[in-house]
Amino acid sequence: MQDRMIARAKELLADGTVDRVMGWKKGEFLYDATPAVFYSAEELDAGFVMNAFTAANVSKYLIKETKKEGKILAFLKPCDSFSFRQLMNEHRVDRDKVYIVGIPSWGKADMEKIRQKGITGITSIEEREGDFVVNTILRETHVIKKYDVYLEKCKNCKSKEIVVYDELLDGENGAAVTNSRFDEVAKLEAMTPDERFAFWQNELSRCIRCNACRNVCPACTCEKCVFDNPKSGLENKAAATSFEENMFHIIRAFHVAGRCTDCGECSRVCPQHIPLHLLNRKFIKDMNELYGDFQAGEAEQQRHPVTSYRTDDAEPGVIYTRGGTGK
């Protein structure tokens, strides 16, 4: 697929449709491909990659890119296209300045999970039906089940559909996927409050407030963030107890509630492996249950549950009676 993408990008550069290309650039290692902008055919040849590790969502970068002159070519995976559509709804990106080529994505690999299998020194990774074929520097070839090493966001993929595009690389679009992404949330909900508290205390105590989750999130697009407040009394102070970063995480999830497309980038980039998607999914699950099914980024110009209301909505007291046990 990489070759086809480079070829198409070159064509579009050559005929003047676009003057630059948004994609993923080769890193030091095979698994650290990062989003990058390419300006010429030579740069594409030298650095453009598309493999099992190009999981990064490029939609957020298009906010800044579409403020510049000229048109940019963007390759969007299904989950990136949901984020892009959501940004379009919020008027954060200029659709006219992006030429979108939709590319299929059959799931991206998590390097951590591959490492846990004892595989190091990867030189190449290929996709085969249901498997990844990994070659290493020791001239070993490992065949691993895709599902075992998927990123969390790919394990519980919600849709293969590309919701916004100018053309599709394969010529055909995917469809929504049945998934069990709320199972883990339901499992937590079934616990007692003390168990839940212990779970989250354990998870959030690892937070180092690196802000990676905020910076990568395609829904977090404020120019000035509420957490960059020198008067908060929290800035530049290490947490004194194991649960003190709770406000950051609750509010971060709240600020994107209704706009979060569940792209799973927050959990992917967390250096401390905090399952942040569980917070976002809790809001999504609640909104689905209380206010009707809703998927951010799915349709054009939709009002999301937090910016709309119905006169017969449930009272907040509903929380005391549903789910969980204890007081």
Binding site: G233, M247, T307, Y309, T311, G317, Y320
Partner: protein, 147 residues
């Protein structure tokens, strides 16, 4: 083991909307109804002015309970503010419960300007709940707690 603070008295923050609940509190006062002095009222223009962050911030800085009071749904001075507040607070409370915070620490109550009696009763019962729950330890933040 947690040391029990003998002198502990609950600190309760009540966000009251200017048009209904704040007037309701006023009525409770002029009617000489009793409610505990542990309740600190903060007047807001509308219940939907209450940012979820205000609530967490109150807990961080030492509140033991937070109650949001507004006009009855349908009676909002700004037509629809309390409907938005209702959704927001429902989602926030659900999230707090999900993180294992005691359910009783937060509450939303609709109190009109004529319901001085209801205001006093609500505050009495809320203070009672918070007193039985004890000090807020889970949501406090020692970095910004003022004492």
């Amino acid at each position: 083991m947690q040391v029990k603070n003998e002198n502990w008295k609950p600190l309760i923050v009540a966000f009251c909307c200017n048009w209904c609940s704040y007037a309701g509190a006023d009525l409770a006062g002029t009617n000489r109804l009793n409610y505990p002095a542990d309740v600190k009222i903060i007047r807001v223009p509308c219940s939907c002015r209450v940012n979820p962050m205000f609530i967490l911030r109150a807990f961080q800085r030492g509140a033991d309970g937070v109650i949001v009071c507004g006009c009855h749904p349908g009676d909002c001075h700004y037509t629809s503010g309390n409907y938005y507040a209702r959704r927001r607070m429902t989602l926030l409370f659900s999230m707090l419960d999900y993180l294992g915070i005691e359910k009783g620490r937060t509450r939303v109550e609709w109190v009109s300007a004529a319901e001085g009696q209801k205001f006093a009763e609500t505050m009495n019962s809320f203070v009672e709940t918070i007193t039985s729950l004890g000090e807020n330890k889970r949501l406090e933040d020692l970095r910004c707690k003022t004492e």
